[in-house]
């Protein structure tokens, strides 16, 4: 087994991941890798994920070994901020050519490392493996080792060619690279009982700096943030922290857990999005530090700071609360952010009419239910057309999402706010929350909406009206014809990976008396791919009373 595939197996075996531990040995081997559907997949690759995870280390040279596409098409597209060196923003790539593909690109890679060290003298060079050199057998580990020895500088191989899996796997492989080659290789000048690591925070839009002053005031030192605004030396010394906060479990749980395992650094998962979550995270940091020997008075100071800063934040939000009361938000985002943002928005008096849970875990979903009530409108996966319909039907006033779905909102002439990585505003901590509310208010109150929704004087019907009419006609046709509605319902593709429709699942449930998602998966294979549809399958099981033939509610539900 190659070192890369054993590394991938290792990552799949993540004991810190609840979802992973819930699987059988055999299932676990398959990993959490989403089997992408040819023709129906869009998203980053493992290389992308690895680069995203490590690139915010600001003073190292990030060298991409591969043809121009990998770095050429993607560099300078992320807004991490640096308080010092900006070397991370320089795009380095070996830009391999045909000759390299035939004869191997190792020599070019070695020379590239040499040139970088001569010209830029960074504390380290990170070398990212991509698909093409991986295919032709370039051994970047060997090259890095040789270069490291020759130039007397760390040259770190990041073995994550794109084709091994999605972005998320790349995040973890990047984590493995620094666990193996960086963390623990240097020692800090001094340590204090107040040293923490923050893991999985990338300092996008400088968000870390919305939180750092709070920690500064408490005397808590961020020994290393992995990897936002980090310097190579910080990462190398990070094993001396007393405790760690993991911000995004999805991307770097392996780092947090292995540092606990190897260096005894306890960690917790928290969020700095939202006022209450920020306070909770600060308390938890203090608690862990006290457990590890910091004076108990730290908690008193923490509480005092929380009380003061919460009051400041509420005062900052107050002027907007009245203007925003009752305004409805549709939230389309991924993972951990969905519940922390729900909480944050509710704090500002906004009503969340729906949230996506595409990348959320079961716990995330439970948390959302807790916050939004049992009827929470959770969206697993949504086509742009469904999203448009949702915007219309839920009569949301604004949509918050990542950049990719922005145009659904904008073309529907709905206010939209970017809360994903490409955003320009920082929304963390107490000040970030006030900023988010301010931005929402700004978007909602912009008179541009009134303008752009105006129909041209010569226009008889707008495309929105035609779309609405089509949706209404469809609904009316279904209401009038229960058989058609049933056929329509049953034809919905539930599992996209295995191409299983709802009818198949319903039949299997009725025929075999299935009562769990696993049983359904066993029978129909639905949910055995990316597992993104398991929530929907659970929903079908839960609502059996509504759709079972002969059920009293059936016609009404079908119409809905």
């Amino acid at each position: 087994m190659s070192s890369l595939s054993s590394k991938i197996q290792d990552v799949f075996n993540e004991p810190g991941c609840g979802k992973n531990q819930g699987k059988s040995e055999k299932e676990r081997k398959k990993g959490c890798t989403k089997q992408l559907q040819p023709g129906g997949a869009a998203g980053g690759c493992a290389f992308d994920g690895a680069k995203i995870a490590l690139q915010p280390i600001t003073d190292v040279a990030h060298l991409v070994h591969g043809p121009i596409a990998c770095e050429g098409n993607s560099w300078d597209n992320r807004g991490s901020k640096s308080s010092g060196s900006n070397l991370w923003r320089t795009g380095f790539t070996t830009d391999i050519n045909e000759t390299d593909v035939v004869f191997g690109g190792e020599k070019r890679l070695y020379k590239s490392v040499k040139e970088i060290i001569e010209k830029y003298d960074p504390p380290a060079v990170f070398v990212y493996q991509t698909c093409v050199p991986a295919m032709i057998g370039d051994d970047i580990d060997a090259v890095c080792k040789a270069a490291s020895k020759k130039f007397g500088k760390p040259v770190i191989p990041v073995n994550s060619p794109g084709f091994v899996g999605p972005k998320n796997l790349g995040n973890k492989l990047a984590g493995e690279a620094i666990l193996d080659h960086v963390i623990g290789t240097e020692e800090p000048e001094y340590t204090t009982p107040y040293d923490i690591n923050i893991i999985g925070e990338y300092n996008l839009s400088g968000e870390l700096w919305q939180v750092k002053p709070l920690l500064d005031e408490l005397g808590i030192r961020i020994l290393c943030c992995i990897s936002g605004d980090a310097k190579y030396h910080d990462v190398a010394c990070s094993h001396r922290a007393k405790a760690a906060m993991m911000v995004c479990s999805k991307s770097m749980i392996n780092i947090a857990r292995k540092m606990e395992e190897r260096y005894g650094i306890p960690f917790f998962e928290g969020s700095f999005y939202g006022i209450e979550d920020t306070s909770e995270a600060l308390r938890e940091i203090s608690r862990l530090l006290i457990e590890r020997g910091a004076p108990a008075e730290l908690m008193e100071r923490t509480e005092a700071l929380i009380a003061r800063e919460e009051a400041r934040a509420w005062a900052g939000i107050e002027p907007y609360k009245q203007r925003l009361a009752g305004k409805k938000v549709l939230l389309i985002t991924g993972g951990v952010k969905s519940w922390s943002v729900v909480a944050a928005l509710q704090e500002a008096g906004l009503e969340v009419v729906g949230t996506s849970v595409k990348k959320s875990t079961k716990e995330d979903k439970d948390r959302i239910k807790e916050l939004m009530g049992e009827d929470a409108h959770m969206i697993d996966d949504m086509s742009p057309r469904e999203m448009y319909k949702m915007l219309k039907e839920a009569k949301a006033d604004i949509m918050l999402s990542g950049g990719r779905s922005q145009f659904v909102a904008l073309k529907a002439k709905m206010p939209w706010l970017d809360i994903n990585q490409e955003r320009h505003h920082a929304y963390m901590g107490y000040v970030g929350m006030v900023e988010l509310v301010k931005e929402i208010d700004k978007a909602l109150s912009n008179p541009v909406w009134e303008q752009v929704r105006k129909r041209a004087p010569w226009e008889e019907t707008t495309w929105e009206e035609r779309a609405d009419a089509a949706i209404a006609a469809e609904a009316a046709a279904l209401a009038a014809d229960p058989a058609l509605a049933k056929a329509q319902r049953r034809s919905a593709r539930i599992c996209k990976c295995k191409a299983v429709d709802r009818g198949t699942i319903e039949d299997a449930i009725l025929e075999h008396g299935l009562d769990s998602v696993e049983a359904v998966t066993e029978r129909t294979h639905a949910g055995s791919g990316c597992t993104g549809c398991t929530g929907t399958i659970a929903g079908i099981l839960d609502s059996i009373e509504d759709w079972r033939p002969g059920s009293v509610d059936e016609p009404a539900k079908q119409a809905a």
Partner: protein
């Protein structure tokens, strides 16, 4: 909505305003084979001339009656006569446009009376039109001089037509204000022609000062609208005026010829252009061409993409009333706030501007009010203020001497509005402040107790 105030200062510092006579001269420059003539001292002319040369980067025809001290005291009849005869002999224009200045207005020269005498004395000049406009420097401003001149030309040069006369359904008169650039005129002409209509533009700077290389040298204006075309304007089916300043001119046209008019107080923005295009569709009886529908759709998209960068931005604008109205309404529609507005002269539009105060003042006043703004918008003279304020600076209006292409700056129509969104949106993007570790630091007075705790170790 806005309170209109006047600067109480005795001393104007860094003037925003320019004088009436040069507004008047510019209007004359839109007439074919015309020689604008300032009745004043030589300096009045030379300053105006240099200002236009720097702005348009073109040869500017402008003559002077070269009033001396003695001539000024005794009256300028001889100078006016001599100037007209000389110009007639040398440059052979079809029309001489005479604008008075501060010095001759102070003396009280009766130029209309002079012209009557000159006409009697010089029948050989009968073929040359002489149009005189009273434009004292010490009253009103640039756009007023322009507007008065266009009104005067209509009164004097357009052939009267009975109200029930037969009209040419293809012809539409267009009366642009002083703030409409040659580039804007090109855009408006394209839009009007897209409906099969034929615009007759008075004055037409797009032919004379649009920065093209002429085929031969002429000492008078090149291009522009000809006298015969002006005379025939009474047969058009409709008049479109752009800018509140053009209302008197449109009214004068209606009074003389019975042509109904529509006044657009601005043509930058979505809704106003919807009205404009609807009017053209109505006048022509034709459907809106797909090209224009597409431009509208592109503008809507630009507004959607652009509004993020405009929302909440504070903008300081210094411009003449019609341009100020155009820009401030447009900024408002994209979610920006007009935090400071300074203008040059009275206009009924001023109190309708969505801002607390519109000041008739100077660039010093604007600079003072722009202290916490995100953008300064005015003519080139604002550049030092913007530098001191360390905020981005968008140049618009006359003079724009430190940039190329002033004549082609186009902000009307769907396309012009779209471009303006991109130009200014890009400035906002470029001036975005990068955060640093201190951006969100806690207030000093909270006291950093933690530092002590940390220092202890």
């Amino acid at each position: 909505m806005a309170k209109v105030t006047h600067s109480q200062k005795a001393c104007t510092v860094n003037p925003l305003k320019m004088s009436q006579p040069i507004g008047s001269a510019l209007a004359f420059m839109g007439i074919k084979n015309c020689m604008p003539l300032f009745h004043g001292s030589q300096g009045c002319t030379s300053f105006g001339l240099v200002l236009f040369v720097r702005h348009f980067k073109e040869a500017i025809p402008l003559q002077t009656t070269a009033m001396s001290e003695v001539a000024t005291v005794l009256g300028g009849l001889e100078n006016v006569e001599q100037a007209i005869v000389t110009i007639a002999n040398r440059q052979k224009p079809s029309i001489i446009g005479i604008s008075s200045t501060g010095v001759t207005e102070t003396k009280g020269d009766d130029v209309d009376g002079y012209l009557k005498l000159i006409r009697e004395k010089h029948p050989e000049l009968d073929h040359i039109a002489l149009v005189y406009v009273s434009t004292p420097d010490f009253k009103d401003a640039f756009q007023d001089g322009w507007a008065k001149t266009v009104t005067r030309m209509i009164e004097q040069l357009v052939d009267p037509v009975p109200a029930d006369a037969a009209r040419d359904p293809a012809k539409v008169n267009l009366l642009p204000g002083a703030h409409v650039t040659p580039g804007d005129l090109d855009e408006l002409r394209d839009l009007i022609e897209a409906f099969g209509l034929e615009p007759v533009i008075l004055p037409d700077l797009s032919g004379s000062l649009d920065g093209h290389v002429p085929d031969d040298f002429t000492p008078t204006t090149i291009g522009g609208i000809g006298l015969e075309e002006i005379a025939a304007m009474g047969r058009a089916q409709h008049t479109i005026a752009v800018g509140e300043q053009m209302r008197p001119a449109a009214e004068a046209m209606e009074k003389k010829t019975g042509i109904p008019y529509t006044l657009f107080d601005r043509l930058t923005g979505l809704e106003v252009n919807d009205d404009f295009i609807a009017l053209l569709a109505g006048l022509s009886g034709r459907p809106v061409p797909n090209k224009i529908k597409r431009q509208r759709s592109q503008l809507v998209d630009a507004m959607l993409d652009g509004h993020f960068h405009f929302g909440g931005k504070r903008v300081a604008i210094g411009a003449e009333p019609d341009l100020l109205w155009t820009l401030s309404s447009w900024f408002r529609e994209l979610g920006a706030e007009v935090a400071a507005a300074v203008t040059t002269t009275e206009s009924p539009l001023l109190e309708r501007i969505a801002t607390a105060e519109v000041l008739i003042g100077d660039l010093e006043d604007l600079e003072k009010r722009a202290a916490d703004c995100d953008l300064l918008v005015t003519h080139s003279h604002g550049r030092q203020a913007a530098e001191r304020l360390a905020i981005p600076f968008y140049r618009i209006g006359i003079p724009m001497f430190d940039r190329l292409g002033a004549a082609h700056q186009t902000i009307v129509g769907y396309r012009g509005t779209r471009n303006l969104i991109f130009e200014i949106g890009n400035m906002f993007i470029a001036s975005g402040h990068e955060p640093n570790p201190e951006t969100w630091s806690l207030p000093e007075e909270t006291g950093h107790v933690g530092e002590k705790a940390l220092a202890a170790h």
